[in-house]
């Protein structure tokens, strides 16, 4: 196995690990802030406690996110030196700004954590949560811009001798992939964090914890969950149209779409016959791919047969795409059903099966995040920067990458285990009920 292979494995492992914590890091502050604001507004201490307890868990996860983010940030130069050399020339501006955004977040997180009882007016403490949200979300935005650039590089030209000319850092940042990608990444991070917190609340209710505290937590996260899942849908739809226009190879590979045609059908699941390129056992939705690509059955969608074979991404990304979409639908349905039952005021939203479905939504939403990212990255193959640089031309030539891959994998495994143990102990030692007893009861 060569250094290209191992560099890919190490990058994939690190990103797959980091994205879990990064997603929590981007999304959970929104919910902490929402809960604290609602608590102050309605003078309901339950929501304040919710914000406090979420924050306590959040700092553990954010720590892992920070250190693994440091890893991937520096690893890019170590594993892909030629890529970073080129990227440094064109797209280093958002990378640079990301460190500022993160700096901003880190400072205010420090302040937020240690000033719960410092200010006379609680709203001042809530105000310090806003920079955390801005910092963490902007971090995601800037990093996604770099990733968007890798998909649709713009803002420069290459002269005949290979020299980079006419560099425009702003055009590189605002490349065609940026709007759809940023929208999709941010909305799905909020959605996933919402379902993570909802799953925790649902788990406690299912186990028989009767306190209204948990119900408030679940209602809050489910309202936000439905909103964010709808936003994620819109962002996903925009992404589909973007792909059809700018990265037809990725879309065609994801949909097993071979012949360029209008009224293109969409296949869900199925098995591909590699000889004949026929799709079997799939759910076929007529015209749906054309609608996804351009809002009309008349839209012509470019098929893989019109793309040189050496530029085809791996075709297994079809399954990743389908899993991601299916989970997205599931999350929207579950939160919609919950809110409908709550609206009907018959108490049926506390149905055991519905609670179980919400709990399942927690891990599922993370699987969707992983599938989405692997789809986005593998779907760009064979390119590291579409049309400009191939993955195998970008990797380090060092022969120690395999060893480093093993070391980092062990590290991530240990971190996962320890983080889960610590989180579990943190909340078990100090159950919400114990803290609830120490406060005035109110607002049931």
């Amino acid at each position: 196995m060569d250094s290209v292979f191992w560099s890919r494995v190490l990058t994939e492992t690190t990103l797959a690990f980091h994205i879990i914590w990064a997603t929590i890091g981007v999304g959970v502050p929104v919910f902490i802030s929402l809960a604290e604001y609602w608590g102050i507004r309605t003078k309901d201490p339950h929501y304040i406690l919710l914000a406090r307890r979420w924050t306590r868990g959040f700092v553990i996860t954010v720590a892992v996110g920070v250190v693994t983010g440091t890893c991937i940030g520096i690893m890019l130069s170590l594993l892909w030196p030629k890529f970073m050399q080129l990227a440094g020339n064109i797209i280093s501006l958002p990378l640079f700004m990301e460190t500022f955004a993160f700096f901003f977040e880190a400072i205010f997180l420090g302040i937020y954590l240690y000033t719960w009882d410092t200010f006379k007016k609680p709203i001042y403490h809530w105000l310090t949560s806003i920079p955390i949200i801005i910092g963490s979300t902007m971090s995601a935005v800037f990093i996604t811009m770099v990733n968007a650039f890798m998909n649709t590089p713009t803002g420069f030209t290459i002269a005949a001798d290979g020299k980079l000319m006419d560099i425009d850092p702003i055009a590189a940042m605002l490349n065609p992939a940026t709007p759809s990608k940023v929208a999709h990444v941010v909305s799905s991070a909020y959605l996933t964090s919402g379902f993570l917190l909802a799953a925790i609340a649902a788990y406690h209710i299912l186990r028989g914890n009767k306190h209204v505290y948990y119900k408030k937590a679940l209602r809050l996260t489910m309202i936000a969950g439905l909103i964010f899942s709808l936003l994620t849908f819109v962002a996903g739809d925009i992404s589909g149209k973007f792909l059809a226009k700018h990265q037809p190879a990725k879309l065609a590979a994801a949909e097993w779409h071979f012949e360029t045609q209008s009224e293109a059908p969409l296949y869900f699941g199925g098995v591909l016959d590699k000889e004949t390129n026929e799709v079997r056992y799939a759910i076929k939705i007529p015209n749906a791919l054309s609608i996804l690509a351009g809002n009309s059955t008349k839209t012509e969608v470019i098929g893989l047969n019109d793309i040189p074979k050496e530029n085809h991404p791996p075709l297994y990304i079809h399954y990743l795409f389908d899993i991601m979409v299916a989970i997205g639908v599931y999350l929207a349905l579950v939160s919609a059903v919950f809110l409908y039952c709550w609206w009907r005021k018959k108490g049926s939203e506390w149905n055991k099966w519905l609670l179980r479905a919400i709990i399942l939504g927690g891990p599922l939403s993370f699987i969707a995040i992983e599938c989405g990212w692997i789809f986005a990255e593998v779907g760009r193959l064979p390119w590291i920067i579409t049309g400009i640089m191939r993955v195998d031309k970008a990797a380090t030539t060092s022969d120690s990458v395999a060893l480093m891959t093993i070391l980092f994998s062990i590290l991530y495994l240990i971190l996962t285990i320890v983080a889960l143990v610590v989180l579990n102990r943190l909340f078990k030692n100090q159950p919400a009920e114990a803290e609830l007893e120490n406060m005035p009861s109110q607002g049931n």
Partner: protein
């Protein structure tokens, strides 16, 4: 001013910032662990954790900022150093990961644990050791370009006296800077017992920092005579560094003005660090990469400078708020909040 000078100055200032804040952090980890072993942890751990808790996350950012800025201003460095530093870089990353996450586990998790404290203390010594090798490598002789391939000679690095003297300097400096700052912090907190213990640590580690610096100079004269000559031509900076050192040690000895004392320690390292950096010019990697050869295109360079200035407008008030709340807020320092 020329773009490359602005770029390297910005980066060097941030690296200096990292040197100070990371030293305080790394040293604090070591002192916590050491005092646990010698059963003195009840004296100083309060001080250490009260300072570190709100700021630990900020420390890492200085490092990332330096690396990202380096790739931005001087993209060629990514190519050379990226290839060469896979092993030392990865080891430093693994240690940083362990340190950061276990700090959070120990501090925000449910209980203190000896294993966490050990990891937290020891990584604080190994990280600077592995990071300091980057500066060593920049002196040349460890990276060679053979055809189109960049080759890194790890064996030469491990057997070089210069390399080891730099590691030694990094370790003792960390303990000295950290002890000096924590003495000041303990003094502000009115915690006499902690102050006295930390004062002893500071004085103990002050001598070795000078000894180690001399060692580095001596081995540099063997390893890279050109750089050594350049350093001699701005010898006054190193003299100024030594003067600041003397003032700092005197104040520490007399237990007077411990805040001013720490500022002199910062000046001691500022003079030495910028003296080192200036004599290193114009090379980023000796003989291969200079600040002009590696410089990015001017559009990107000025965009980065612009972003940097805008960023400072955001960061300086935020840092001021952080320091006002935790560093200069006597009530917080004393633990009343």
């Amino acid at each position: 001013m020329k773009l490359e000078i602005i770029g390297i100055t910005v980066l060097w200032v941030f690296l200096y910032g990292y040197l100070i804040v990371a030293s305080i952090d790394f040293g604090a980890g070591f002192f916590s662990y050491y005092s646990m072993l010698t059963k003195k942890d009840h004296i100083i751990n309060n001080i250490i954790s009260r300072y570190l808790s709100p700021v630990w996350e900020v420390t890492n950012v200085f490092l990332i900022f330096f690396v990202v800025g380096c790739v931005g201003f001087f993209p060629d460095t990514a190519y050379y150093y990226g290839t060469a530093l896979l092993i030392p870089g990865s080891i430093a990353l693994i240690l940083l990961t362990i340190r950061g996450s276990f700090y959070a586990f120990a501090n925000y998790g449910a209980r203190q644990s000896r294993v966490y404290m050990f990891l937290y203390g020891m990584t604080g010594l190994f990280i600077p050791a592995s990071l300091s090798t980057v500066l060593t490598i920049s002196e040349g002789g460890f990276i060679e370009k053979v055809g189109t391939e960049v080759v890194f000679h790890a064996d030469r690095l491990l057997t070089s006296p210069y390399s080891w003297s730099v590691v030694f300097l990094a370790l003792v400096s960390i303990l000295y800077i950290s002890a000096s700052f924590l003495t000041f912090y303990a003094d502000r907190a009115g915690d006499t017992a902690a102050r006295e213990l930390l004062r002893k640590y500071t004085l103990f580690w002050s001598g070795p920092t000078i000894l180690a610096s001399l060692l580095v100079f001596w081995s540099l004269s063997k390893h890279n005579p050109v750089h050594f000559e350049n350093a001699l031509s701005i010898g006054w900076m190193f003299g100024a560094s030594f003067l600041c050192f003397c003032v700092a040690v005197y104040l520490m000895w007399k237990r007077q003005n411990l805040g001013i004392q720490f500022i002199f320690v910062m000046f001691q390292f500022a003079y030495a660090f910028f003296g080192y950096g200036m004599s290193h010019m114009p090379y980023l990697l000796y003989d291969y990469v200079t600040i002009s050869s590696a410089l990015t295109n001017s559009t990107m360079g000025w965009a980065l400078v612009g972003a940097f200035i805008a960023g400072l407008f955001l960061l300086i008030p935020s840092i001021a708020l952080l320091m006002w709340l935790f560093l200069f807020n006597a009530k917080y320092v004393r633990g009343e909040k």
